[in-house]
Amino acid sequence: MQGAAAAENKIFQALADPSRRAIFESLTRGEAAVKDLTSRFEISQPAVSQHLAALKDAGLVNARREGRYIFYRVDPRGMKPLVDWIAHYRAFWTESVDRLEQLLEDMDE
């Protein structure tokens, strides 16, 4: 039921940091370069780059180079492990409540 647990863990770890989450939220509104993000948040450029690297490592954002700048944007596929995780649990509970109903039939009052 938890096959993709490591990937899910990475996503949650990446998003657990408030600054990184703010950067990710900002990118959900459109792509941006490091300099845009540095001016948008009160964080140094190396810190922004580090947060972006963590988001990229978790598969949450991807990057494209244009001239001197690298633009970052949200990778929608990055959230898939989380969607899978919820789907796993939906299937897990569906099977479990089936067993619960069967068990209740077999139990004494």
């Binding site: 039921m1 938890q2 096959g3 647990a5 490591a6 899910e8 863990n9 949650f12 770890q13 998003l15 657990a16 408030p18 989450r21 990710f24 939220e25 959900t28 949200v74 929608p76 596929r77 959230m79 898939k80 989380l82 969607v83 995780w85 919820i86 649990y89 939906r90 509970w93 569906t94 479990s96 409540v97 089936d98 067993r99 619960l100 109903e101 069967q102 068990l103 209740l104 139990m107 009052e109």
Partner: protein, 146 residues
């Protein structure tokens, strides 16, 4: 008996089910709280005690990156109406709530697993708040994925 998956499409933060059972609330409560019965329908359980604050674990097969342990803590036990416990798998921190309502034919059982948010001990309130704020946008991102 019909199981209705009541989870709304846009509602990615919780999973909910509602079941109409032709059994008394007392009997359903027993199935939810007897360790032997829990093991039969849910998962093998260790140290289960119906005391608020008490920790217990469910144990399933290990997977790569996960030892198969679900860490739980009783949050509320109101026999035979409501049982709530924390359901934590590594960084994922959720709450499972069972609500039993007597009906003419037996019991309506509602099951909700809510949360699906980061478990960050150092900045617990902040993380929860932030995750909530992000909920709406997260849904947008999820919609693009589909």
């Amino acid at each position: 008996m019909t199981v209705i998956d009541k989870t709304a499409d846009a509602q990615t933060e919780s999973i909910s089910f509602e079941l109409d059972l032709r059994h008394s609330p007392a009997k359903v409560w027993r199935a939810l709280t007897d360790p032997e019965l829990l093991t039969k329908w849910l998962l093998p359980v260790t140290n289960f005690k119906l005391v608020p604050g008490a920790d217990f674990t469910f144990n399933t097969q290990p997977h790569p990156g996960w030892d198969g342990t679900v860490n739980c803590r009783i949050l509320e036990s109101d026999e035979p109406k409501r049982l709530r416990y924390a359901w934590v798998v590594m960084e994922l921190d959720t709450v499972v709530t069972f609500t039993l309502t007597p009906t003419d034919s037996g019991t309506r059982l509602s099951l909700v697993q809510s949360g699906f948010k980061p478990n960050q001990k150092q900045n617990f309130g902040g993380a929860r708040y932030g995750w909530k704020l992000m909920g709406g946008k997260l849904v947008d991102v999820l919609a693009e994925t589909a």
